[in-house]
């Protein structure tokens, strides 16, 4: 294993040092999540007609993003995990979206 030239872009052994989030930072994220929960419940009492659904989903997406980025450390992960995660979401969007070519036009 000695004297073997490393190829470019190989992360060294030190990549495994995790980024540590403090209790305070995590607590702040929780506060955001609880606030958003309160907002979405509150909005559900207001009759926005059709817009109730997109608003609720948008808030849910925001909450999910916070959980992913901070609790699940996605903000600090390498490209393999980030790109593959986004690809998974893209596939899910296609699963739902392309079904609507049928369902929405019957």
């Amino acid at each position: 294993m000695k004297n073997v030239p490393l190829r470019k872009n190989v992360m060294t052994d030190h990549e495994d040092t995790h980024h540590v989030l403090s209790y305070g930072q995590l607590g702040a994220v929780l506060a955001v999540l609880l606030t958003l929960t309160g907002i979405t419940v509150g909005v559900s009492y207001v009759h926005l007609g059709f817009f109730n659904v997109p608003v609720a989903l948008a808030i849910a997406c925001t909450k999910v993003t916070f959980v992913l980025l901070f609790f699940m450390h996605l903000k600090y992960e390498g490209p393999i995990i980030v790109i593959s995660f986004l690809s998974t979401v893209a596939f899910l969007m296609i699963m739902i979206g392309f079904t609507f070519w049928d369902v929405a036009f019957r």
Binding site: K8, M95, F98, W101
Partner: protein, 537 residues
């Protein structure tokens, strides 16, 4: 010298003896062989079921079985071929054996998970066998388990779909293992554009295995849930929509056919350069097209549903997208042929099977355009044209690639060589039989003979008889092929580390390899298909 002791004599983990050295192994090579034995069993079983089906169809009316048996048999043939041979086949056997070696690694990233995947595969097979004999017998729904029949049917649908669920988990975990191995265990000196094309094809396949398999998992769970709880999610009387079942089923099962074909294409990409003594044409194009096929294949599932009653808009959209998928496949076919151009061809069995692959897969692909175009599909949907199409691409494609892989890597896995002439004869016999078997079906389908029908109108009898004759020729060829390979164990002609003149890393290690694959650190070339050294010899 310990380095030349083969993996057969070195169990991993060490200290295991006898059958435990296999059943408790972490060695990816042993696991590949364990899959080989099981999968060959399932292939031969399903092949003979197919032969019985075609024998039944050789004459009008009853030939050798009744209609209920016929329906159960074609369901069995489909379920076993799809879930127990085609989907696992090349990745579980040759992927397990060779992906780590091609990457310069000593095993996959999660060896114990690999063993678990094998046990899941065996368990799925066992549950499928149980579903054959228990209760009211094997389902007769077709391997697609369409609702409402699969929900109302009293046969063992629940058990069979459970088997498929378990097999899906095995497939998904193998994909997970391969992606992690690809990213974390390849030799530090091997960059992405130095990875052999077989491994690239397995990588693209692995993503489909990870992302698409869960869709069939949840769909099969819903079938079982509906059978027991009668919620009505697919029942119009209770507000459900049976078409949503079809959407969910094909959301997996269409990408599944790319799980089947991509590794096969990877095998062909390995074999053609070696026996043309020439570097592969368009290495990057083949890499990109593999990923493109995996992605585009996820966008087209409803082309199985043109006549189902779905909206005209979706018929149009999915038909348009289906034409896109043909493009990356054509890129590969062009690259293989361009590789052979002005090459120095050596017609060995692996190459012969590969050439047959290129021809049969191309025919299959062209018939796929007839089916992909919604207008023409209306005429041939659910006829024997479809049956012929998918047998051309799945059997003429993946099946022949499987045979090619077997003949290419046989000396490496077992350290022995088979009779080349007999293998070539078997290949030709199989190919000729294949053509006599499936081309009549294309015509019968165009003439209007429906698929999955026990009986047919008188004018279809000649075509069916000819197809049956072709089936027997084809099966003779396959039997000859297997007998010839089996005889290699009797004759024990030893094979060298590199009998073919290959350039990828598996040909740099002994045949069979030692347990940790590399007795000394391998030399990683700038380009995996550099034949200058081979040609000089």
């Amino acid at each position: 010298m310990t380095a030349s002791v083969s993996f057969y004599h070195t169990p991993a983990p060490p200290g295991l003896t006898g059958i435990k050295a296999w059943l408790l192994t972490h060695d990816h090579k042993r696991l590949g062989l364990m899959y080989l034995v099981a999968i060959l069993f399932w292939f031969i079983l399903a092949m003979f079921v197919g032969l019985l089906l075609r024998t039944e169809l050789m004459t009008q009316g009853r030939t050798i079985m009744g209609p209920e048996m016929y329906n159960a048999m074609f369901t069995l043939h489909g379920v076993v071929m799809v879930f127990l041979f085609m989907i696992p086949g090349i990745p579980a056997i040759f992927g397990n054996f060779f992906l780590p070696i091609q990457l310069g690694a000593d095993d996959v990233f999660f060896p114990r998970l690999n063993l678990f995947s094998w046990y899941l595969f065996m368990l799925g097979g066992l549950v499928a066998v149980i579903s054959l004999f228990a209760g009211e017998g094997f389902p007769d729904t077709g391997w697609t388990f369409y609702v409402p029949f699969s929900i109302q049917n009293t046969a063992n649908v629940g058990l069979t779909v459970t088997a498929a669920f378990i097999l899906g988990m095995s497939s998904m975990l193998t994909g997970l293992n391969f992606v992690t191995t690809f990213h974390r265990m390849r030799d530090k000196r091997m960059g992405l554009m130095q990875i052999p094309l077989f491994t690239w094809s397995l990588y693209a396949t692995a993503w489909v295995q990870i992302l698409a398999t869960p869709v069939i998992s949840i769909t099969l769970v819903l079938v079982v849930v509906e059978r027991f709880l009668h919620i009505g999610l697919f029942d119009p009387d209770k507000g459900g929509d049976p078409l949503l079942y079809q959407h969910m089923f094909w959301m997996y099962s269409h990408p599944a056919v790319y799980i089947m074909i991509l590794p096969g294409m990877g095998v062909i990409s390995e074999i053609i350069p070696v026996f043309s003594r020439k570097s592969i044409f368009g290495y990057r194009a083949i890499v990109w097209s593999s990923m493109a096929i995996a992605i585009a294949g996820s966008l087209v599932w409803a082309h199985h549903m043109y006549t189902s009653g779905m909206s005209d808009v979706s018929v149009f959209v999915f038909s348009l997208l289906t034409f896109l998928v043909a493009v990356p496949s054509a890129v590969k076919v062009f690259s293989w042929v361009a590789t052979m151009y002005k090459g120095s061809i050596e017609l060995t069995p692996p190459l012969l099977f590969s050439l047959l692959f290129i021809y049969l897969f191309s025919v299959g692909g062209l018939t796929g355009l007839v089916l992909g175009a919604a207008g023409t599909d209306i005429h041939v949907h659910d006829t024997h044209f479809v049956v012929a199409h998918f047998h051309f691409v799945m059997f003429g494609g993946t099946g022949f690639a499987f045979f090619a892989a077997l003949h290419y890597w046989w000396p490496k896995m077992f350290g022995i060589m088979y009779n080349l002439r007999t293998a070539n004869i078997a290949a030709v016999l199989t190919g000729v039989g294949f053509i006599f078997h499936y081309i009549p079906m294309l015509i019968l389908g165009l003439q209007g003979m429906p698929r999955r029908y026990y009986d047919y109108l008188p004018q279809f009898e000649t075509g069916n008889f000819l197809a049956g004759f072709g089936a027997y020729v084809m099966v003779s060829g396959i039997v000859l092929m297997f007998v010839n390979l089996a005889m290699s164990f009797k004759k024990r002609i030893p094979a060298s580390a590199d009998p073919w003149g290959g350039t990828t890393l598996e040909w740099k290690v002994p045949s069979p390899p030692p347990v940790h694959n590399f007795p000394e650190k391998p030399e990683i070339m700038d380009f995996p298909y550099d034949f200058s050294g081979v040609v000089k010899k």
